[in-house]
Amino acid sequence: MYAFEFERPSTLDEAVKALGAEGAQALAGGQTLIPTLKQRLAMPETLVSLAGIAELKGISAEGGVLTVGAASTHTEVAGQTAYPALAHLARGIGDPHVRNRGTIGGSLANNDPSACYPAAALGSGATIVTNAREIAADDYFTGLFETALEEGEIITEVRFPIPAKAAYVKFEQPASRFALVGVFVSKGEGGVRVAVTGASEAGVFRWAEAEAALASDFSAAALDGLSASADDLIGDIHGSPAYRAHLIGVLTKRAVQAAG
């Protein structure tokens, strides 16, 4: 770890200001950033902790929308009951230590191609709210570890329209237990969504063919004969693109079954 300054603002405005400085970076749960610092893969001059900002906290369900403050931990999200599929997803992240510290905002800002929350956000048609604007999930994830966030922009909350049916099925990479492939399906007012994480070189994506097939018949059988393309999928020691493509099909069916 290189030496850095540490700031702990108590309001969003102070945080935005602090992050405007050269070399400043937000620190949420630190479950991604701290290991990166320890390996000396990042060299921020100032870490701006988001832990003390009341505006980023709290989870509430109203009018069919679940609003999750960006600094909510995975444990907190796992504890809410308004959106069970999201709670289930949060329960499956990492281990108790990671869940007690890691946050939804940190996960979405980081956009790891194997992370779980991006699938939930995209698969629910969520809105990512920042200090500056509202970004639809469809516009938010722009590639591997890439998002629509501008420098210094802070996610404040995430709004999930609660669908009638939804489920997340994760197939764990054996070592990291991140998603080797994870599929989030939902059927709500906005239609059917199928979001796939872990599989693509370009990060989380929607599987359009499956969505189309499920739109008219939301059942596992509707997916028979459908297979995801292996093009541009990740190939590594844990699985080839072909294997990941196969898993997308298997997990999508399982997710539809689990969604009921």
Binding site: M1, F171, A175, Y243
Partner: protein, 787 residues
């Protein structure tokens, strides 16, 4: 047995109190006055020539005390190899130099090039980044067979090739074995890989060098399984410090699994640097460094052939193995694929003719050496896999085929140079069938089917050679060390005992088990006995802990020393009771005179020994302290039978272990709870190898599995509750405790049954799969199912 737990009592491990309450004293917990920190610049390429190193900027960085490079170690010894193998043609192996810091070339990712010593660890790391080094990258060799091809890049320019040795065993049998294969009724062939593993002890390696100017003595605190061995190797071969001026301390050590047997460059560096700068120098490995510098394990590529006669008797066995040595010879590397592997190829079976060929190869990878089981898992895996394959080819029951070929008479001299003293393989197999409930398998198979899962059953046996070993024998085989063990038993005036052992505990529970032995012999409370280990300054010269040798060899030394104590104590007791020595009996801590009601207590005798007012001074010296060195006259041969039941998800290829049973013969048991713990841990590691773990290099020699993000360790939910049993005991015939060793069995015995079970599941589902290389990751199993 003493009321509170002698031999056979499941005493709770007394050391766990300090481990579990954070009061352990590990090497990193030691901080010395004036201590400074070392950090290493390590090669990020697998193979290259160092064309320049400029340390001037680093030397000017804040806190930097000194920067060292290979030039500082010119004329100083390299890291020695402790075992010399002689090849098929009578030539000794090729043995390259292994400098402390790279001299001219780097040979694997992680090879140390330079080191900075600075006031803080962070300053040392900062300065390492300021060292300017230019490396002309050379093509790397990673694949063993490619490394042996004509014109392959040479890891060591001064060697004739990348071949360390080409070993044949037993070379004289080669022709007879080949002939048996020509005459065989059936031959089963299997090609497999026993993958490369990283030991991953919970505690990473740490070294602190310290130099005392007042008496010119160096001290090394280090995470070692064998401090005396490090003292000898580092003192005599690297730094030229005589043993009486060098102390090595290995305090609490958080696991080793073999990887902390070896002498590492960082230990020599810290000891050397401390003397140069006259301050204690500490280095603590990061987990990333551990992946690229701790010796790796296994990495064999093998072709094994089993010849059977018309009645399905094993007629001959022939193997050809390529064993990866990595870039340098780690301390005991050459012995692992040879004497710890070839000698075990008979397994539990009467195979009259065996020939083992091993080619050890240098590659641009981390050195490979002993890892829990060391050679024996490699032998067991290939043998038990080929037997299973043969059974399937012949359409016979794999258990029946094994039973038919079991060795049933002991002692049994194998065709691969060792003699098994005892065993009862039928009994362990019977026990296995019972505890694994093999009779209920068909029912469970149906249940799995109903859930859409493929169920499979795999069984295997294993034999291992533990308690390494008779010194005269290992000397003939190329060991550059003796393999006895030592113990000093010091009895205090008030009756308590301190046992100083040359064994080293890094998780095995010596502090609990060893007192049980002494307590049993004297008949006193084990809490009166303290175990001291891990410090060359206060323990007799010992060879340390590995190869499941501590109780069999180290425990036997303790028995011998305690016998001497008892003999002397009886003399004192005889004097006190005015009886003849031959009539003295010791029971429950009381000395009595046979046939009388006279008695003196243990404490009366020990007090007399140190306050010799009424004492036979003309016959014996005062005091009560004895030392014994025990050199066994054979290995011990634990053996067992294991069964694994798996379910395979046909859609994803994911394997889950539903049941696992292990029936082991460890001879006599001193503490059954510790034995169970050792078996559980071994099974976890073996299952980890079978399903999860692998170190992978890309073709350029970059380590792809350099962290836990990609190197999969077994976790609690990867293993089921185990059914284990160690009641089928045939005590070892040649050590005083009748014990055989249990530390490695689980890791040795479990991988084949897991793979056998998965192959069984797939074949039951009609898939023509005969083998899948470990680890049986979901992706691999799925690919095998969908070939």
């Amino acid at each position: 047995m003493p009321a509170d737990g002698g031999i056979g009592a499941p005493n709770k491990r007394r050391e766990d109190v300090r481990f579990l309450t954070g009061k352990g004293r590990y090497t990193d917990d030691i901080n010395m006055r004036g201590q400074v920190y070392a950090a290493f610049l390590r090669s990020n390429v697998a193979h290259g020539r160092i064309t320049s190193i400029d340390t001037s900027a680093a030397a000017d960085m804040p806190g930097v005390i000194r920067v060292f490079t290979g030039a500082d170690f010119e004329g100083i010894g390299g890291l020695p190899c402790g075992w010399q193998v002689t090849d098929r043609f009578g030539e000794v192996m090729q043995e390259p130099a292994h400098p402390v810091l790279a001299q001219g070339k780097v040979r694997h990712v992680g090879d140390p090039i330079a080191a900075v010593v600075a006031a803080t660890a962070e300053q040392a790391r900062d300065a390492v980044e300021a060292i300017e080094v230019e490396i002309e990258e050379l093509p790397a060799v990673v694949d063993m067979k490619a490394a042996l091809e004509e014109g392959a890049p040479k890891v060591h320019d001064d060697l004739t090739s990348n071949l360390c040795y080409d070993w044949g065993f037993v070379e004289e049998n080669r022709e007879a074995v080949n002939k048996a294969f020509e005459e065989a009724a059936h031959v089963t062939t299997l090609e497999l890989r026993n993958q490369r593993l990283v030991a991953n002890p919970m505690e990473p390696r740490v070294a602190i060098g310290d130099y005392a100017a007042h008496n010119d003595e160096s001290t090394l605190y280090t995470t070692s399984q064998n401090p005396h061995v490090i003292r000898l190797l580092m003192g005599a071969f690297v730094l030229g410090i005589p043993e009486h001026k060098l102390r090595v301390v290995a305090p609490d050590v958080g696991g080793g699994f073999g990887s902390k047997i070896f002498h590492y460059a960082e230990e020599a560096f810290c000891t050397f640097a401390a003397k140069q700068i006259k301050r204690p120098v500490k280095w603590t490995s990061s987990r990333s460094e551990a992946f690229m510098t701790d010796a790796h394990g296994r990495d064999h590529v093998t072709k094994i052939e089993l010849a059977l006669d018309g009645d399905n008797n094993f007629a001959a066995l022939r193997t050809e193995t390529y064993a990866n040595m990595g870039a340098y010879l780690s301390t005991f590397a050459p012995s692992v694929p040879t004497w710890l592997h070839g000698t075990l190829m008979a397994g539990n079976y009467r195979t009259p003719l065996i020939y083992v060929n091993v080619k050890a190869v240098f590659t641009n990878t981390v050195p490979v050496d002993a890892y829990r089981g060391a050679g024996r898992p490699e032998a067991t895996f290939q043998l038990e896999r080929v037997i299973d394959k043969a059974a399937r080819e012949l359409g016979v029951d794999p258990i029946a085929l094994r039973r038919q070929n079991f060795i049933t008479e002991f002692p049994y001299a194998t065709p691969v140079a060792v003699e098994y003293d005892t065993g009862d393989y039928v009994a362990t197999m019977d026990k296995l069938e019972e505890i694994a409930d093999l009779a209920g398998f068909e029912k469970r198979l149906e249940e799995s089917k109903a859930r859409g899962k493929l169920r499979g059953l795999g069984v295997n046996c294993y034999i291992e050679a533990c308690g390494i070993a008779p010194s005269h024998l290992v000397g003939q085989l190329g060991a550059r060390a003796g393999l006895y063990e030592s113990a000093t038993v010091r009895v205090n005036a008030t009756g308590g005992l301190v046992v100083m052992t040359g064994s080293h505990s890094h998780g095995q529970g010596h502090e609990t088990a060893f007192p049980q032995v002494v307590a049993e012999m004297i008949g006193i409370d084990p809490n009166m006995i303290e175990i001291v280990h891990g410090d060359t300054a206060n323990t007799p010269m010992g060879m340390g802990t590995y190869g499941s040798r501590s109780l069999a060899v180290g425990g036997s030394a303790i028995v011998r020393a305690t016998e001497k104590i008892i003999n002397k104590a009886k003399k004192i007791a005889a004097h006190l009771m005015e009886a003849s020595e031959g009539d003295i009996e010791l029971k429950d801590g009381q000395f009595t005179v046979a046939g009388t009601d006279k008695s003196v207590a243990w404490g009366d005798v020990t007090l007399a020994a140190y306050v010799p007012h009424n004492y036979p001074l003309e016959d014996i010296e005062p005091g009560l302290e004895e030392t014994a060195f025990y050199d066994p006259n054979n290995f011990t041969y634990p053996a067992g039978a294991y069964a694994c039941e798996v379910e395979v998800d046909p859609d994803t290829g994911k394997v889950t272990i539903e049941r696992f049973a292990a029936a082991d013969d460890f001879g006599n048991i001193v503490n059954p709870m510790i034995v169970s713990g050792q078996v559980h841990g071994g099974l976890g590691q073996g299952i980890g190898q079978a399903l999860l773990e692998q170190a992978v290099y890309d073709e350029n020699g970059q380590l792809l599995t350099g962290s836990y993000m990609d190197y999969a360790m077994p976790r609690a939910d990867d293993v089921p509750f185990f059914a284990i049993d160690h009641s089928c005991a045939t005590p070892c015939t040649h050590n005083p405790l009748g014990v055989k060793g249990c530390g490695e069995a689980g890791a040795i015995g479990s991988p084949p049954s897991v793979v056998n079970a998965v192959v069984d599941a797939l074949q039951r589902a009609g898939k023509p799969v005969t083998h899948i290389d470990m680890p049986l990751s979901p992706a691999r199993v799925w690919e095998a199912m969908n070939q």
